[in-house]
């Protein structure tokens, strides 16, 4: 019998009612009285020297209040980067200034040159067209190999070779890895590209700056996954506004997938301009603008080598990766190809020796940063691709080669050779589940049926692991993070028993307003309807770190549990007074305090009332009120893992790939709301399928983005995708957070691309067409070309 309340119940989402009736409150739905409009004039060339910006005529156009240029922002900070990576030679990464408006040079198409603020958006736009800009175009560099060849133009003077850093991990293992590869029975080598993507949340970014001259307070409304972090970065590092004078509000957020983590120039601009003009300033991105200003994702080129013994046991892995940073360092960018990537190269396997080299490269393209999975999809893709290739070369079944190398279920906690230690997992169990739900047993019959129709059928799989619940502050600090990565929660029990939870986590579609109350309902024995969630507003809750890296329930949920535990402890003391019993004898269950072995009881509501109306209350030993705050900083990451399979049909005449079925068996530890978890997996899988089959951000050699709209960038549509078979019944609860949860937001996007590519290659190779690799996206033309060249 499924539960209908508390942890484990598939409760319908309370936020849906407002979203389904048009009553959502997204940032662009907010209009502040007297607001003005910002429009950015952006570079149309990828690289150039700004010779002059003439705003004289434009400034006189109707409605124009002021036109800002780079010179206006020379006295404030550039956009800060949150991580510092150290190169193999001990030097810290190159960190060139990222100005709010370009000064001196433009470095990518979309770099803002000037910003007009006018009474209407149309007037701002018209005036921007009248600005005279003279740019001396410089040669641009787009390709990473060319960028570091020594013959390319420098994107920044500080990095003449376009190298941001050259990172080795684990450096002490390098020689041992080299030796193991040299002497191995078999080495499989693969060169591949992890294609550049655009996150494309359906809500474009918006920022509204507001300034109150009377109080001196600034308010920023923004489309952000982590308003507290924006307040910290923008206040302390860019504009110099103390935190008590700056409030950041992120109301309903229409998707993020990573790209709304980062602090963007437009946020700082609107806040700055609102104060300068003493008027609210609003900016809403067009989709075309989003394509050239939202941080992109992925964009790695990797060579991976896997050494095996004669039985197919993995002995060593060596990788060399070029990671595109784009023109400037975005907030999290340096951490993605390093600590979110190198640390995952053990995967679900016992490989004892691993060495990764990552060179981060500046190019004249939009900055690249975390996108759903962030580093972990890149790690999983290369590993699962090279394993499949090794299996084919050595004549071992792809399921079997993985099973031979899985970390066994009894080996946890398991210390990997790449710094992280997995707490729990059972990779054979998720593989068993996958083999069942994807009906591996019936595959050959289905393949034969396809063959009758002249089609090549393929089955591909992957096994992934990710490090989620991004946290431990002491660990990430050692790794180069410049901030702590805890989470916070305040639980306020009101006098009549209603509960408000203020969490530093924020939802951009994950349904926190539904799942967080489920946890409180379970702990307090009350209906979910008694619990309200407040988030997305630095003025209404404690400093938190926000939502990314599948961390909300694992870190934010844990903080809420800790605060709720403090409430229960205090309430027990109050109840012991009311019942005239020793506190050790007080029990709490189903919303009622009782004394063991007696019929004394008092309900939660009466205790809450006593806390606020303390007439009969031990004031000498307990403060009135019932409100507690907790900051939770876990001792480790969490490690969700699972096994995915794709089944495809390839048309050998055209190269067209049809995705017939997709199956996912995940281990997320304990699950709060199975319906929501399943939905998260669906969405992640769709984005992974998008990467594998459809999506790619393509620049021409001059740095023009060729895929700058939905006419050119192939977003997955309903008719590109099948129904998915998703299972999360294999559960090895996390051992170090109070809910035993692991996080589920990114898994789908991590595990799916290699399964898809492996399926297409299985179809081709089993059909007698010897193709070793095709780079994503597997468009018909690429698959067709691979088929032709194999003939």
């Amino acid at each position: 019998m499924p539960k209908d309340s508390g942890i484990g119940a598939s409760i319908k989402r309370r936020e849906d009612v407002r979203f389904l009736t048009g009553a959502g409150n997204y940032t662009d739905d907010i209009n502040v009285a007297g607001q003005t409009y910002a429009y950015f004039l952006r570079s149309t060339v990828a690289h150039g020297k700004i010779v002059s910006v003439d705003t004289a005529a434009a400034s006189k156009m109707p409605g124009v209040l002021r036109i800002f240029t780079g010179a206006d922002f020379e006295a404030v900070g550039g956009l800060p980067c949150g991580w510092q990576i150290t190169s193999r030679n001990g030097e810290v990464m190159k960190e060139p200034r990222h100005p709010i408006l370009a000064s001196g040079k433009v470095r990518h198409v979309g770099d803002p040159i000037a910003a007009v603020v006018a009474k209407s958006l149309a007037e701002a736009r018209d005036a921007a067209e009248a600005i005279g800009v003279e740019i001396e175009e410089l040669p641009a560099v787009v390709d990473m190999r060319a960028a570091i060849s020594g013959a390319a133009p420098a994107v920044h003077d500080e990095a003449p070779d376009n190298l941001c850093y050259d990172w080795g991990f684990v450096e002490e293992n390098r020689e041992a890895v080299d030796a193991a590869i040299k002497s191995a029975h078999h080495v499989t080598t693969l060169e591949l590209t992890n294609n550049r993507l655009v996150a494309n949340p359906m809500e474009p970014r918006v920022a509204i700056g507001d300034f109150n001259r009377a109080s001196g307070d600034s308010t920023l409304y923004t489309t952000s996954q982590n308003p507290h972090v924006i307040r910290l970065l923008m206040g302390a590092f860019v504009l110099g506004i103390p935190e008590h004078k700056l409030r950041v509000i992120a109301p309903d957020v229409g998707g993020g997938f990573g790209t709304k983590i980062f602090h963007y120039a437009e946020e700082a601009f609107c806040t700055f301009a609102a104060k300068a003009l003493n008027k609210p300033v609003k900016w809403t991105a067009d989709r075309s603008e989003a394509f050239i200003t939202d941080a992109h994702g992925r964009d790695h080129v990797t060579k991976i080598e896997l050494a095996l013994d004669k039985d197919g046991k993995f002995l060593a892995i060596r990788t060399a990766t070029l990671a595109n940073m784009g023109a400037y360092l975005s907030t999290f960018a340096p951490s993605v190809p390093t600590w979110l990537h190198g640390t995952l190269m053990a995967g679900t396997y016992t490989t004892p020796l691993i060495y990764c080299n990552v060179k981060a490269v500046f190019t004249n393209t939009v900055p690249v940063d975390a996108y759903r999975g962030a580093g972990r999809p890149e790690a999983t893709f290369q590993l699962e691709r090279v394993i499949d290739k090794a299996a084919r070369e050595m004549g071992i079944d792809p399921v079997e080669i993985r099973r031979r190398n899985f970390i066994p279920a009894d080996a946890f906690p398991y210390q990997t050779p790449v710094a992280v230690a997995y707490d729990t997992g059972d990779y054979h169990a998720t593989m068993d589940k996958l083999v069942e739900i994807a009906d591996f047993a019936g595959f050959e019959a289905r393949r034969a049926e396809s063959a009758k129709r002249g089609k090549l059928r393929g089955l591909g799989l992957s096994s992934y692991i990710e490090a989620c619940g991004i946290a431990p502050s002491n660990l990430v600090g050692q790794l180069g993070a410049r901030a702590g990565l805890y989470e916070s929660a305040t639980v306020r029990v009101n006098a009549a028993g209603g509960i408000v939870v203020m969490t530093g986590s924020h939802s951009h579609g994950q349904g926190h307003e539904t799942t967080f109350p489920q946890v409180i309902a379970e702990m307090f024995g009350c209906p979910e309807a008694n619990v309200e969630i407040v988030h997305g507003d630095t003025g209404r809750g404690p400093m938190g770190m926000g939502t990314y890296g599948s961390r909300s329930i694992a870190v934010g949920g844990a903080a809420m549990v800790r605060a709720a535990e403090k409430i229960i402890a205090k309430a027990k003391r109050i109840a012991s007074h009311l019942m005239e019993a020793a506190v050790e004898d007080v029990e709490f269950a189903n919303g009622v305090f009782s004394v063991a072995g007696t019929d004394k009881k008092v309900d939660f509501g009466s205790v809450a009332l006593a806390a606020y109306v303390p007439h009969n209350y031990p004031l000498e030993s307990i403060e009135p009120g019932l409100e507690e705050t907790a900051f939770y900083d876990p001792s480790n990451f969490t490690y969700p893992a699972g096994a995915y399979a794709a089944e495809v049909e390839v048309d050998p005449e055209t190269g067209a790939v049809t995705l017939l079925a997709f199956s996912a068996a995940d281990d997320f530890g304990n699950v709060i709301n199975p319906m929501i978890v399943t939905g998260q997996v669906h969405g992640g899988i769709a984005q992974g399928i998008g990467q594998a089959l459809l999506e790619s951000a393509v620049y021409d050699a001059n740095g023009q983005l060729l895929t700058g709209s939905y006419m050119d960038y192939a977003m997955p549509r309903a008719d590109d995708l099948p129904m998915y078979a998703v299972d999360h019944s294999c559960q090895t609860p996390c051992t170090h957070n109070p809910l035993g949860v692991k996080g589920c937001g990114e898994a789908g996007a991590i595990g799916s691309p290699p399964a898809l590519v492996n399926a297409v290659l299985d179809a081709l190779n089993a059909g007698g067409i010897g193709v070793e690799h095709i780079d994503m996206p597997l468009s018909p033309s690429r698959v067709w070309a691979a088929i032709q060249s194999a003939k």
Binding site: F19, M202, G254, G255, R287, H682, S709, R717, D719, M723
Partner: protein
């Protein structure tokens, strides 16, 4: 400036617009009906879908002046006056057919248009019909399920709960 009037969700409204004002801008900025969203500038995403004289229209692709005299229905007009969700809206909630909710108004309006035209669509027909509506969150699985379930309910068939 042109003076226009139309019926929106059954109410007579009027306003002064520039020739270039889009229907979606009129709804959002002049009437404050912010349930209709803007997700792109090339007419691809469908976040802006409304019904004009009973047919679904991308409100970012129609000038406000062109809707002069029309009957317009937006997401705000889909639930009953007492707030009871329509069958399609209720099915989206029941089947978790939305996450961030940004595509949702357009999805619901498109789904209503589809079911007006085809009371018994197949899964493939639903998917094909949604070609002009992009959702980045759900992977479409639950949207398709919700629309098929709503269709069955509207036909008077019992639907298995999930």
């Amino acid at each position: 400036m042109t003076k226009i009037s139309m019926k929106v969700n059954g109410e007579a409204v009027s306003g002064e617009v520039e020739g270039r004002t889009l229907l979606v801008q009129f709804l959002r900025d002049h009437l404050g009906l912010t349930g209709t969203h803007v997700g792109c500038d090339t007419g691809q995403c469908g976040a802006c879908v409304v019904h004009v004289d009973g047919e679904s229209v991308k409100a970012c692709n129609m000038l406000a002046a062109a809707a002069d005299g029309a009957e317009v229905m937006t997401i705000e007009g889909m639930a009953a006056p007492d707030g009871t969700l329509s069958v399609i809206q209720a099915a989206f909630q029941e089947h978790h057919g939305l996450q961030c909710g940004f595509c949702t108004p357009g999805m619901v309006m498109s789904a209503a248009d589809l079911l007006n035209r085809n009371a018994n669509p197949s899964e493939a027909e639903v998917r094909a019909y949604l070609e002009g509506n992009i959702c980045r969150c759900t992977g479409y699985h639950n949207i398709v399920k919700a629309i098929l379930a709503a269709a069955a309910t509207l036909r008077g068939e019992a639907v298995a709960a999930e």
